[in-house]
Symmetry: C2
Subunit: 140 residues, 2 copies
DNA sequence: CATTTATGATTGTATAATACAACTATAACC
DNA sequence: GGTTATAGTTGTATTATACAATCATAAATG
């Protein structure tokens, strides 16, 4: 790998993360943290915070608070595990599913706006490489 | 642009930002915020917080605090603007320059480790596309 | 030239996202 | 049945950020 490429990636990642931290701070609906948690629940529902924390690679305490916040807003419901007195399941609610879709669509739209004049090939590569990079981070 | 690409980018960006927020939280030297500020000072030194805030697209108050922290650690020095009683310059110190290099090298190394078996072409594209995306974000 | 307005910077306050440590309640193990 | 492990929550701390208020000085205005 050329050193030039490496240096570009290093700097641009630093910039990107700062930019996105700021940019996504200004939403009134779902905050970024809740978004991924809600997505995860929408997919692999019927799990507790421990499992979610593992899947999302976050501390259990973090997920516990985020899940409590979603519960508060009626986006999920917390159900006692009948077979284990310590454990709970979370289920996304119908309302949660709707809100998730709304938020996701808004995100898609705003990203689409950023990419308006990108060649298809660039958009395709960017998605693929982001995914590949995340994979590498996850396995690290 | 295919909807598939868009959806991939949307999700992978959300994951990336979470991952990097966490991953870079555990360094003892320079925190991420200081890093970009210090880089900026290393390049375009002799400017005050207002200019820095504009360049970094951050609120002035944020930069003011970050700069104060760098000053505290002797990584920069704060100099009164002789021509304007309200204003200051910041200059990176020799020590600051050294620390910046050390930190940057460490970052390069850890990213390089992630990309070990990436084809050159992928690394090159990833850097180029990140930069392009940041550009789009900046101009938004 | 005196008053008002604009500007550079700092500080107070608030919020979001996170981790680690301490704790509670229940289950599993021997 | 006592000890250890596990699911989850809560207390506390840190980092990064923004917005609003404030301070001091400079610039503009009449």
């Amino acid at each position: 790998m050329s050193n030039q490429s490496l240096e570009t990636i290093e700097l641009q990642l630093a910039i990107l993360i700062r930019r996105l931290t700021t940019a996504t701070a200004d939403n009134r609906n779902l905050d970024r943290a809740s978004y991924l948690l809600l997505r995860q629940l929408s997919d692999s529902g019927q799990v507790g915070v421990k499992t979610l924390a593992r899947e999302l690679q976050l501390d259990v305490s973090t997920v516990s608070r985020q899940a409590a916040a979603l519960d508060q807003k009626k986006l999920v419901e917390k159900i006692k595990d009948p077979t284990d007195g310590r454990a709970f399941f979370y289920n996304i609610t119908h309302y949660g599913q709707q809100e998730l879709e709304i938020y996701r669509t808004a995100r898609l739209t705003s990203i689409e706006r950023l990419l308006t004049d990108w060649p298809d090939e660039d958009a395709e590569s960017f998605g693929r490489l982001l995914k590949k990079f995340n994979q590498a981070l996850r396995e690290r």
